[in-house]
């Protein structure tokens, strides 16, 4: 239980830090803290493969991508705040979201679970690489194929989004439309 409190505090600190940090780089580093705390939770909940995948995919690939974009876009610029276009939107959004999240959390914590539902011992290979491989290449192969197709589509989509455009000076009409 003490371990749970410590890791949960790490996750919550990371989450709050993402939201309140001024610099996007600090947000990214707080998000890494949050992700690693969740990976610890996955290990405790006997999902070893997912913990490894979480660290590799999130803390590795996704955060590196984030850091690249943050350095590319915010290098040498200061963040200037503009006036809000929707008055009071932040306050209302914050209050509503805190009410929703807090309400969900309270309901979740104080709702009694049904312990009679569960068998006692975990099945063999629960959550490790063999178990995940057996289920992903067996009965749930369609999900593996769907994820593969989705990642392929995303890669092609990124290339299409960032394809080199025709030179805007050549055709002033195109330039006007694009601006």
């Amino acid at each position: 239980m003490i371990l749970f409190v410590i890791v949960a505090l790490c996750a919550l600190i990371g989450a709050v830090g993402v939201v309140i940090a001024r610099e996007p780089v600090h947000s990214a580093l707080f998000l890494i803290l949050n992700i690693i705390a969740l990976a610890v939770f996955y290990i405790v909940l006997s999902a070893e493969f997912l913990a490894a995948a979480q660290v590799i995919v999130y803390a590795g690939a996704i955060m590196v991508l984030f850091l690249f974009v943050v350095t590319l876009l915010t290098a040498g610029k200061e963040d200037q705040q503009r006036s809000e276009s929707l008055k009071g939107q932040r306050l209302a959004a914050g209050v509503l979201a805190v009410l929703a999240g807090g309400g969900l959390a309270i309901v979740a914590v104080f709702n009694p679970s049904r312990p009679g539902l569960l068998p006692l011992a975990l099945p063999r290979n629960f959550g490790n690489l063999s178990g995940m491989g057996a289920i992903l290449w067996g009965p749930d192969f369609v999900y593996l194929a769907a994820v593969a197709l989705m990642l392929l589509t995303a890669a092609v989509g990124v290339m299409v989004l960032n394809r080199p455009r025709p030179a805007p000076e050549a055709n002033p009409k195109v330039r006007e439309r694009e601006l």
């Binding site: 989450a15 993402v18 939770f41 999130y58 503009r82 969900l104 679970s113 569960l118 995303a154 990124v158």
Partner: protein, 100 residues
Amino acid sequence: MIPLNWVVGLAAALFGIGVVGVLVRKNPLIMFMAAEMMWNAAALVFVAFARSFHAMSGQVMAFIIIGTAAAEVGIGLAIIVSVFHHRHRLDIDEVSRLKG
């Protein structure tokens, strides 16, 4: 073992913080990170219930969530970079009209 209720409660709190981040911040990168946190909270609930019900289908769903998040980050960051090349400001209000 950790009680299931507390894990689900933690996930709800993380989801709420992510909602606050998406709604309050104006930097699209930070909004994106908050959205990632919401994905993560959903995956945590799936893993917790998979452990509780001894069914690995929940872990398969969490696997799909991780894969989806990877694809989504690639596409989303490409869109942010593309918008930034047009507008030269990191502010979500720049695209409030969704016109190129």
